[in-house]
């Protein structure tokens, strides 16, 4: 447990000493709020916000693979999980803040999306690819619904896409990504 606490402290220092995460949260917040105000539709702003938050979730881990920073991180936490846990703990409030003008469930949703990004980054490592995959899950699945001729398929696809309306589905995606990502992170070699 002391490991986890130290990791949280270290990750907090990491997060606040470069602009990436604060900037992403600010961007998500401003983007979400302004789209909400412009369209008068809270769900529209969330589309923008979730993209930024998902990428922030990817960035916090995959960014370390790009800069090589993953090495010192792993040297500091050879068991690896404390670092992942600390990043997850940091992301959740950061994401939730974005939904400040929305319903409380949207805050939960954005938290899940941030973790979806984190899990995918642990699984895929390459930042751009991981971000592309998460954005695909978020945006491409819903665009496919329109093409599905069979109402049952369309309904299935619609229900299977993460969305603020389907917290359980979203949580399932996040859980799957985190599970696979954690296994990958714990077992595969770094670099």
């Amino acid at each position: 447990m002391t490991d986890a606490a130290a990791a949280l402290r270290a990750e907090w220092t990491k997060a606040r000493t470069v602009p990436d995460l604060p900037l992403a949260i600010l961007l998500a917040l401003v983007g979400t709020t302004s789209v909400n105000v412009l369209t008068g539709q809270p769900s529209a702003g969330l589309q923008l916000g979730q993209a930024v938050i998902a990428v922030a979730g990817v960035q916090i881990l995959a960014g370390e693979y790009s800069t090589g920073l993953i090495h010192p991180t792993m040297l500091a936490f050879p068991t690896r999980w404390p670092a992942l846990l600390a990043k997850a703990v940091l992301l959740i409030p950061g994401a939730a803040v974005t939904a400040i003008g929305n319903r409380p469930r949207d805050a939960v949703y954005l938290g899940l999306i941030a973790l979806l990004g984190l899990g995918t980054a642990a699984l895929i490592r390459n930042a751009v690819t991981a971000a592309g995959v998460v954005l695909t899950v978020l945006f491409v699945l819903p665009t496919m619904v329109r093409w599905m001729p069979d109402p049952d398929w369309a309904t299935f696809l619609y229900r299977a896409s993460p969305s603020p309306g389907h917290l359980a589905t979203t949580a399932a995606w996040t859980a799957a990504a985190l599970l696979l990502g954690t296994i990958t992170l714990l077992t595969r070699r770094v670099s």
Binding site: L48, A51, V55, V128, G132, T136, F139, P149, D150
Partner: protein, 487 residues
Amino acid sequence: MIRAELTKLRTVRGWLFGLTAAVVLFVGSALLVAAGSHMSCGDQACPAPPVGPDGQAVEDHFGFAHRTLAGDGSLTAHVRDFSGIITYPPPRHDQIVEGLVPWAKAGLVIKDGTRPGSPYAAVMLTGSHGVRMQHDYVHDRAGGPTGARWLRLTRTGASVTAYASLDGKTWTTVGTVEMSGPAEIGFLIASPGDITVTENGLGGTSVQSRFTQASAVFDQITSTAGGEWRYDEVGGGGPGADWEKYHRPAGLEASAGRLTLTGSGDLAPVSGMAAVPYLAGTVPALLAVLIVAVLFITSEFRRGLIRTTLLASPARGHVLAAKAAVIGGVTFTVVLVAVVAARAWSTTVFRANGNIVLPTGALTDLRLAVGTAALLAVTAVLAYGLGVLLRRGLPAILLAVLLTVVPYLLATTSLLPPGAGEWLLRVTPAAGFAVQQTFPAYGHVLLPYTPAQGYFPLAPLAGLAIAAAWALGLLVLAVLRFRRADV
């Protein structure tokens, strides 16, 4: 230089994988959607809609009272009464009301027989669009004085001319079209279904059509063609709506110089039927392409490879242009192959499932294939430009998706009010999706011509031009900045 960049692209396994993934996603999605499309009409194959003179599938269903017209001739009549019913209209959908849908039609027509899909020329009174001259399903023009109730159709030689009049004495020409050969001349009645759009609960919309019927009384008839008025329900023969069974059947009543014609249907291009869904994989493939395009440049920045590249060819503008040409060209080629494969393959599957393959026309097919390849190529260049500009992969891919996929998603689902969605499809790079519109929007067919239904606010090439302008603009900006940047 282009050769060198091609080699770079070709020799990184991840990028090859990404491009392959784009193809697989494109073709796979098309197959999946085609495989999921089933159509059955009892135990027989579903009847294909008739094909009109211009090659597109048409609806040709109307009540027709006619005589044979051998050569020249003319028909004049006064529309004494034009009324109808609409079943269960919104908002409550609970009763049948009197009224005409906007494109209900009563008028005069010369038609090459009663075979559905055959050429015709007609002048008609409509529910709320005044007097129109229409011919061969897709052509429509307004004309005549406002409130005209008198209609005349004349054939002289190979031209058919339509007139309208307020009093039956002074006539205004509505239009003239070419049409020769033996024909039937007479009266038409048609009333298309009443359309409502509802949210389908899946983030999209669905279109419902409800039965309507129109009825017209023609009197003061002057016809040069002789004989009986024979009645046919062109393109009919279906089971008939409940209204027709229990209240008022379609048909013709003749009495003392008066004809009363009752019926439903339309003479128009087919609406509400989907083409082969071979473009279904566009957005998934686009995502794969965006990833490759962004990585193609940002990985050079990250690994310092850009220095090697610039040492080999110090003209920075040329280097960037060569890379853009490579990523655009490769994407275009790869996607074109994917479209052709998806089209061939999914058409087979689609047809095997009993679906009707609507004719789209060779030019449209070409536009869809080349246009889709161009759309993805342009978007790839745009993503690449963002990569050069931002130098970092994550913001680049994020912005690329926010500029292209997200507007498309917002516009084609019910997340935004339709006006806002269409606006997005005019100004963002997602405008390029207009190139994928399969069927044109017809002014004389009432349909929700919304992005959700596959109709875009811009013309295909105009939309593609907007996307290209974005890509080019970003690229120029990137080159300008990169020319004086430290690397």
